[in-house]
């Protein structure tokens, strides 16, 4: 599904990714853990095509295609989805309007028919209640006046509607209490499938109790420095990132 080779990326003069290698096969859930500033969020932005980042070396292949050659919207249409750590508020654009515009833009890019209004409404009604998304939240501006937890749930709703091949979850647990975390994790787990891969970026092991990964990677100074099974997360919870920090110093 995803194959990253020797990826180097910078923002301004600041190089953040320094030769990152990562392979995620179809249907697997990989977690990336690491201390603050290790480049986790940068990786998520580079994969989803945020314009501020410049890739200086390396390659990213997504289902055999050169992901880095695509604009952000083309990547989305190809099946890449980033659940933002801090979802953006867009006053004046109703959440429903936004969801529908996104679905139709992706369909159009793939040469598919637009979704009809009744089908769209049916789909939203089927998916929103499980994530605790009310009619009011659908009518309001995108993320406007949403609590932290509501914003994260709205991200997962978008993921459920857009049915991406690769879900990148950037610190989806940040700012969530345990109940909200369970709702979000349940939503994510419902989307696990042999054809869908996930990259779960997190600072804490807690999220991985609920979204159990196949592989855990440790990221440090812009590279993957260690990979292992889900038990690696527990080990990190015990020992912290100190060993890597010392390495840094």
């Amino acid at each position: 599904m995803l194959e990253i080779r020797n990826l180097h990326a910078r923002i301004g003069e600041n190089e953040i990714l320094k030769g990152l290698d990562l392979t995620i096969p179809d249907g697997e859930v990989h977690a990336i853990m690491g201390p603050n500033g290790s480049g986790k969020s940068t990786l998520s932005y580079v994969l989803s095509g945020k314009p501020d980042y410049e890739v200086t070396d390396g390659s990213v292949s997504f289902d055999g295609a050169d992901l880095l050659a695509l604009d952000a919207d083309a990547r989305a249409a190809a099946g890449v989805f980033l659940a933002f750590q801090y979802p953006i508020e867009i006053p004046g654009v109703a959440n429903m309007t936004f969801l529908r515009a996104a679905m139709n833009a992706q369909r159009k890019a793939r040469g598919e028919e637009e979704i009809s209004t009744p089908d769209f409404l049916k789909l939203v009604r089927a998916k929103a209640p499980d994530l605790g998304i009310s009619q009011d939240m659908l009518r309001r501006g995108v993320n406007v006046g949403f609590s932290g937890g509501e914003k994260k749930r709205n991200e997962i709703l978008q993921m459920a509607l857009l049915e991406p091949k690769l879900c990148i979850l950037d610190e989806t647990d940040s700012g969530l209490d345990i109940d909200a975390l369970k709702v979000v994790a349940h939503g994510v787990n419902a989307l696990r499938s042999p054809k869908r891969s996930m990259l779960v970026i997190t600072h804490y092991q807690r999220l991985l109790d609920h979204i159990v990964p196949d592989v855990v990677h440790v990221m440090h100074k812009g590279r993957i420095v260690r990979s292992g099974g889900k038990e690696l997360a527990l080990e990190l919870e015990e020992s912290g990132y100190a060993a890597y920090a010392q390495d840094a110093a």
Partner: protein
């Protein structure tokens, strides 16, 4: 020390002066009209077209911009009326008054078919009949010289006089449509006088459109008296041809607890200026004055407001949104005057602009002149580009760049459009704005 040196007249000023003289000589009008016209002519002869040396025209220099003056058009024939039709937005529920090239089209107007309690007369007929509406002509003109308005008064003749009887809730909007379909440039001047009786309610729609590439001059003034407790909704859609000059003036008087809800959309003309003079004459009146301006290419679009709170307890809300692409130039000038007697006035004015290009320019000039001591007045202005993080968020969900931009621009303008209470008119505005945005996106 004031030195009043008039620079030599420009070619355009010479042409205008000659045309004014000829027009007044040919047919000065009846009653007090010749006197009103001659006074306006004299004012023009001594002041001319305003240049940037005049404070109110600092950003919109007509002396430099207006290079010539085309002839006024004759009454429209069947061909002109047929050409005008596509330039008139369809408002199925409205009674329509149509002007083609600045001249009343009797065939295209529904004088007989307006709502009950609403009377419309051709301006010349109102004057000839000695209708009281004719006495209102030029009654609300500001004391300070206003070039385009002086020309509108100097050429006075075409127009419509409207009366809404006290207590009448007009069932249908009145649509005053202006079309300039000709391939030949003309100058058109119309005057609309509207008197809305106490407790009455009416919706007025003004639309302006014309042929692209023709440098016609479109100059229209409205004098609107909103009686005690009356409610007027006024929607203005300015979509003049891309080489046109557009000058619009609204002179407004609000009675006690009267209410005006104005929305002005401006997206046409090479150079446009909309000038609103609002005066609170009765206590407890409310004016909501809002608008959206969209400009691209080298378009210049100016909105200038002078809101005069003469009496206590008035409330005014101004919100103008401007979207500027390419090398276009937007101007917003808003002046709120609160006189000594106008205690408890509550005025809030905001101008927000979105610059889609770094060559676009927006000039904001808010002014407060407050002589009373117990008032709440505020103003603000913002200018900026589209929010990059919002754009990325939309694009990360699959929206192409232009579509994401459009959505954000519509949202930006939507905050002003939502104040239009009539759902059909709101939809019409959204449709016109979308049309502009789609053209730009191509």
């Amino acid at each position: 020390m004031t030195i009043n040196v008039r620079p030599a007249r420009t070619a355009a000023e010479e042409a205008i002066a000659a045309a004014l003289e000829a027009s007044i000589t040919a047919e000065a009008g009846q009653g007090r009209i010749p006197e009103v016209r001659r006074a306006a002519r004299d004012a023009f002869l001594s002041h001319g077209l305003p240049s940037r040396r005049v404070e109110e025209w600092k950003y919109t220099d007509l002396r430099a911009a207006v290079r010539d003056f085309p002839n006024c058009a004759p009454a429209p024939g069947a061909m002109e009326e047929a050409e005008a039709a596509p330039l008139v937005p369809s408002l199925p529920n409205a009674g329509r008054i149509l002007f083609v090239n600045g001249v009343l089209s009797r065939a295209g107007s529904d004088f007989a078919a307006l709502s009950e309690g609403v009377t419309a007369l051709p301006l010349d007929a109102a004057i000839a009949a000695g209708d009281p509406l004719a006495d209102r002509i030029n009654a609300l003109s500001p004391s300070r010289y206003d070039g385009p308005l002086a020309l509108n008064t100097g050429f006075l003749g075409e127009g419509v006089a409207l009366r809404v009887d006290a207590g009448v809730k007009a069932a249908r909007p009145v649509h005053i449509a202006h079309a300039f379909p000709g391939v030949e440039a003309v100058a058109g001047f119309t005057r609309t006088v509207v008197v809305v009786g106490a407790g009455a309610e009416v919706t007025l729609v003004e639309t302006f459109a014309g042929r692209d590439g023709v440098a016609y001059q479109s100059n229209h003034a409205v004098e609107l008296v909103v009686g005690d407790g009356a409610i007027v909704n006024l929607v203005r859609i300015q979509e003049e041809g891309d080489a046109a000059f557009h000058f619009g003036t609204l002179m407004l008087e609000l009675g006690r607890e009267a209410k005006l809800n104005l929305f002005a959309l401006a997206q046409g003309a090479a150079l446009a200026r909309y000038n609103v003079y609002g005066r609170f004459e009765g206590t407890g009146a409310h004016a909501g004055i809002r608008g959206a301006t969209l400009a691209r290419g080298r378009q210049h679009s100016d909105t200038t407001l002078v809101i005069d709170h003469a009496v206590a307890g008035g409330e005014s809300r101004e919100l103008f949104k401007t979207v500027l692409a390419d090398e276009s130039h937007g101007v917003f000038q808003g002046k709120i005057v609160v006189r000594r007697a106008a205690q408890k006035t509550d005025g809030r004015m905001m101008s927000q602009s979105l610059l889609l290009s770094d060559r676009a320019e927006m000039d904001n000039k808010p002014e407060l002149e407050i002589f009373a001591d117990d008032v709440q007045c505020g103003h603000g202005a913002t200018a900026g580009a589209l929010d990059r993080s919002m754009l990325f968020y939309l694009r990360s969900r699959g929206l192409p760049e232009k579509e994401a931009e459009m959505l954000l621009i519509q949202a930006f303008l939507g905050e002003a459009v939502e104040y239009v209470e009539d759902a059909d008119l709101r939809d019409l505005l959204i449709e016109r704005i979308s049309g502009w945005l789609e053209k730009r996106a191509v």
